[in-house]
Amino acid sequence: MFADGLFIGFAVLAVLGAVGLVLFRHPMNGAMSFVVTLISLAGLYALLSAKLIFALQLIVYAGAIMSLIVFIIMFLNIQPGDLPQEETKLFYVLGGGIVVLPIGLFLAKIVKSLPEHSTEILGNNFGGVKEVGLLLFRDWLIPFEIVSILLLVSLVGAVILAGKRGTTK
């Protein structure tokens, strides 16, 4: 019961944060509501017995990625004139909602056909660092290494893209 209440709370927060992200004009406001979504998602992960992922979500997503985004938003020193004039924003959002509706309904129909399963909090042998580590370094070793190379590539790419150049345009 307590878990259900938590679930509802976190779910509502997540949806509200997402709506805020989509509707706010200034990206800083959007980023803040997105952080709310991310934190509630972390809570939802915890409710699903995903201990490590709950921690990683907070550290990596809400902590690293969002701080990077907020930093860039602040770095660019956005003036009100830089932002686009979106008078018809609501209209487009509603139109987009109509377009997206069939996709959502289709997915819902698929989900409805799945058998129900409970999501009680499991004990020690699920979702912890040890279990994830064992899987990661045994079955998923190669994808792990490839992801590290991917991160290296993106690091190099980011430096090249945003760094100083010999001849600036």
Binding site: A18, R25, Y45, L48, I65, P84, V93, V132, L161
Partner: protein, 98 residues
Amino acid sequence: MMHCYLYLSIILFCLGIIGVIARRNVFTVFMSVELMLNAANLAFITFSRVHESMDGHVLAMMVMAVAAAEAALALAVVILLHKHKSKLDTNVFSLLKG
């Protein structure tokens, strides 16, 4: 109970799509893409809990790593675009026209 998590994932995913197609602000579009990735992560974790297998957790970690890499590069591009045109509107960049 599992269904509720999945419905929530669907809602967040659709909100992400709406954010991509309905907004012109570069940052909003980018963060909506991240929102979609998070919705997918939620579905992964849910199914992992259902099958009581850790593969979903590992995949969710991979998704997070990819999202981080993508975020770095996308923001570098945003900086470049801002340097070029001093505007954050996706409608300004229309060289693909025609």
